[in-house]
Structure formats: C-alpha cells, structure tokens
Amino acid sequence: MNDSRALSPAIEISGLSKRYGTVEALKGVSFAIQRGEFFGLLGPNGAGKSTLINIVAGLVRQDQGRVAVLGYDTVKDWRRARRAIGVVPQELVFDPFFTVEQVLEIQAGYYGCGREVRPWIEQLIERLDLGGKRRASMRALSGGQKRRVMLAQALVHRPPVVILDEPTAGVDVELRRSLWRFMRELHDEGTTVVLTTHYLDEAQDLCSRIAIIDRGAVRVIESTEQLLARHPFRFLRLKLADGAQLPDALRPLVTGHKNGALELKLERDRHPIGAVFAALKSAGVDIEDVHTREPDLEDIFVELTAARVPAVQQG
C-alpha cells in the first residue's frame, strides 16, 4: 500500500545536530544507509558515533534534524521506528534481578511479542552459545557472556535493522570471531547491519560501505573498495645496508621506522617506485631488503581524521 515506504532507506539521517553544553556532538549530519547494507560507522573517540546511534534508537533527542527508520520518523512515528530496529548499546549494562532467559522474555514482551517468539529466542540462545547459562542470573555472567545477552536482547523482536555499538570491544579473539560469523549470518538473512568499531581490519572485512565521522561531522562516506582506492599511495619498506644513509631527496617521504627498516609513503603518480630506486642507486646506497604494502583502512582513517600536519607531505 505504501510504495514510497517500501523503497525508503533502512536509516535516513538528515541535518542531525546535537549539542551537550558547549560540546557540539553532531554538527548537521546527513546520510542514508540502504536496506541490506553492512555499514560501518567509524571515527575516533568522541566523534559522535554513539550520540548518533542513541538518537536513532530514541534514547537521546536531537536538537535539530530528523531520522527515519524504514521510512518511519523516530519522533513522530516512534512506535514503528523502534519496532524496526534493534540496538546493542556500547556500555555493558544488565538487570541483575533476572536470569538470561527471563531477560530475553521480558525484552520480547516490551516489543509486544508473546509466546510465538519462543523458538526464535531459543535459536538466539543456541547461536550465541548461551545454552549453558540460560538459567544463570545476569550478575553471574562474564563480560563476554553479558555482551552476548545484550546482542540477543537487541534481536528478540526480529528487527530488520540492527545497530551494534562496538560489540567487539574488550572481547577475546575466539568470541570476536564468533561474533563476526553471527553478524555475517544476520546480514545474509537479510538484516541491515550497522557496526561501529575501533578495529579497522574488522570494518574492512565486514562492511560494504563505511562512513568516517570526526568531531561531529561526516568526513567521508564511500564503499569500502572506493575508500581503499581513494588514496593513491603505497608504502615501501627499505632496509639499507649497514652505515648507508638515505639520500636527502627521499627523506621527506619517510613515515616510520620499524626493526631497522624505513617506511616510505609513496604517491603512485608522483613517486614511482622505479624513481625511488634510481635515486638510491645514483646516491650509491646499498639495499638489504625491500617490501611494499598497499594502504589499509587504518592508513586512510589516520589520514582523514588526524589533525593536519602539513610539513610531512611536502616531498
């Protein structure tokens, strides 16, 4: 009956601002997340990621702007909007009065779900490996177990859109891998997944599109591929023979030292690798070892969010 709504994005954010006292947590943010995306929301500490998520979840009121989930306005049509999303908050919080099973049943009840979601809750308990803890009190769980219960709580009502605010923070390697698998499965089942994380390799592996926000504004929003191809540079690691010095012309390109090797950042068109070798040869510098590395998300992230220090780049 509602064709426009059937095509509306999973989450549409327009002109969103939020101020805490003198801190501008969000400065007029606008972007959309399409249905079926696995979307990464990245940014340094204090960038405004959680503020954004909390506004989408209805936990925080925006000063300006609007958010729609599947076309439902989170303020005007809040009941439908909240039913459409499940949010895993960043902080580890729990209700110590109840057991794992009780917590999940209560959460389902809040969303108007009754007995019909029992099999789904059962599935969540199994898939998140909480079977042995179903009758344990929440206060008797480890941090990682509590985190998994929070994930299950966000999913009890089978929301088509799921937002996870740093689900893998402080989680061991094995659990992190199982969370990745779980998020991928959810996504494969048709859920729109929005993930924030400080592990950039995680975002690079999982997310098909990424927004980087910093100091309350979106710096870039692109597919992961575009983002990785965006910066036409690569890294060259050189180990020079004992006592050899890098020619002065190449010095400005050095970005780091590691295990006695130098790392040079080369712009593809301005510093072809051949030219670097030619410069080394004409200066008579002997090379012990070389290694090249393509930029990863972390390099691009640092590039986009670091306070600009002009000197280094002027090679």
Binding site: L59, R61, F97, Q153
Partner: protein, 267 residues
C-alpha cells in the same frame, strides 16, 4: 547493493497491552525478589510504632467517641506505610535501573508514556496493598477495627497509593543517584506523612498547625482512610476524596508530561 523487501511494520492490536503487562510483571517480580526489604521490613517497622505508641498513650482518649487510641492509630499507620511504600517502589526501581544503566532496554522499546505510567503505578499499588494487608492481618486479632465505609476505604487506598506511586516515578526521573531519592524521602515524604495526623486528631492542634495541616495532601489521605474504618473523621470524607483525587490528577499530569517529553530521560 540489493534492495531488501521488508514488510511494513504493523502495530499489532494488543501489542501495547503485552508490553504493559510485561513491564508490570517485571516490576512486581523485582520487589518480590527482595520481599524481605520491600514488604516484611516495612510491616515490622509499622508494628513497632504501633506497639510503642499504644503503650505510651495507653488510656488516653481518642478524638472519636467509642474509638480507643490504639484503634485510632492503626488506620493512620497503615496509610503511612502505603504512602511510603508506594513511593519507594517506583522511585527505587527507576533509580536502580538508571544507576545500573539497564533503563536503556526499556527506553529503546516501543512502550509509551501511558504504559510506563500504568505499569509502575500498578506494581507500586500491589506492593502497598501487600504491606497494608499484612499489617491488618497481624493487628486484627488484637485491635477491633470495624469497616464502616469499605468503598471509601478502597477509594482512599487507590488515590493515596496511586499518587505516591506517581510521585515516586517523578522522583526517579528527576534523580540521578540514590542520594537524591533519599533526600526526597527524608525531606518530603517522611515529614509530611508524620505531620499528617497519624498520631493525633488535627483538632487537638494549635490553630496555626491545624490550618497548616489542611494544606498537607497526606492529611486527607489519612483522614479519609480512617473514615473508611470508623465512619468518623476530622474533615468530611467528600473533602478527603476530592483533595486526594485532585492531588492524583495533578501529579499524574506532571508525570505523564515528563514521560511523554522525555524530560531528563531522553536528553
């Protein structure tokens, strides 16, 4: 990027009712889980008051003909327990959830102001009723308590317990930590409930205090409740019912506005 065809979100009939029932049951389970603190302890406290005052004032005539001082005392003490426990239930539940941080699970859910309001009030009323019933069950073998106006008695219980449950929600919303709730209790609820004619008839007070009492909403709650037992009271039962109903409406309006606007909760 593939477009997923997600069916529209239907607001199922009665789903709000399920949400309301779930929240009410959760709130009831919460105080039931610590019954010793939430019901047994207040009953014992109130019974101690009764013992001490009944002994100390033994032989003193009460304000009403045919009603002994001990008999006079019981309804006031029961109502005082209703007042304090209805308040404590919503206030401490909310502040606990706030301090633990788990209130977000409720705040994210599609439950509206009326469902929150109704569930917290219902749970607080149940706790207050349990405390009142336990007190009455313990004292009836020893104290003669007629119930001359059962409807008025029940109405006064609902109005008073309801108002205090609502005040408890307001205190929970406004407070950021346990200390704030304690301040509310110690500087507002306790003094007003002690100065409301539990231990005396306001007619025995000096004129200034007599007039001051008439602006204390708790005075009408206690006086009207006493009327339910004895069919006699300091002011007319109609005045008590109207004052208490007016108070309930006023605090409910404030509370519902807070819940609907997200005051202090969704900042």
């Amino acid at each position: 990027m593939d477009m997923q065809a997600t069916p529209p979100i239907e607001l199922r009939r009665f789903s709000d009712r399920i949400g309301f029932v779930t929240l009410t049951r959760k709130e009831v389970r919460r105080f039931m889980a610590v019954l010793g603190q939430t019901v047994t302890a207040p009953v014992i406290t109130a019974l101690l008051y009764l013992l001490v005052f009944a002994q100390a004032m033994a032989g003193r005539a009460s304000a009403y003909p045919g009603v002994s001082y001990t008999e006079f005392l019981v309804p006031g003490l029961v109502m005082m327990a209703v007042i304090q426990n209805a308040f404590a239930n919503s206030a401490s539940s909310l502040i606990q959830s706030k301090v633990m941080g788990n209130l977000v699970f409720l705040m994210m859910a599609p439950l509206g102001p009326l469902e929150w309001f109704g569930a917290y009030v219902a749970a607080a009323l149940l706790r207050a009723a349990l405390v009142a019933a336990a007190m009455l069950a313990v004292v009836t073998p020893f104290v003669h308590l007629p119930v001359r106006a059962p409807l008025a008695l029940f109405a006064m219980f609902l109005l008073a317990g309801g108002s205090l449950a609502v005040l408890g929600i307001i205190a929970g919303i406004v407070s950021q930590k346990f200390d704030h709730i304690a301040a509310f209790t110690n500087f507002f609820i306790m003094p007003l409930s002690f100065l409301s004619g539990v231990f005396y008839s306001v007619h025995s007070l000096p004129p200034l205090w007599f007039h001051a009492s008439r602006f204390n909403p708790f005075f009408y709650m206690i006086d009207g409740f006493r009327y339910g037992f004895f069919g006699q009271s300091d002011v007319s039962i109609l005045a008590s019912l109207l004052w208490s109903a007016g108070f309930l409406v006023a605090v409910s309006a404030v509370c519902l506005w807070m819940l609907a606007s997200g005051y202090k909760l969704r900042r």
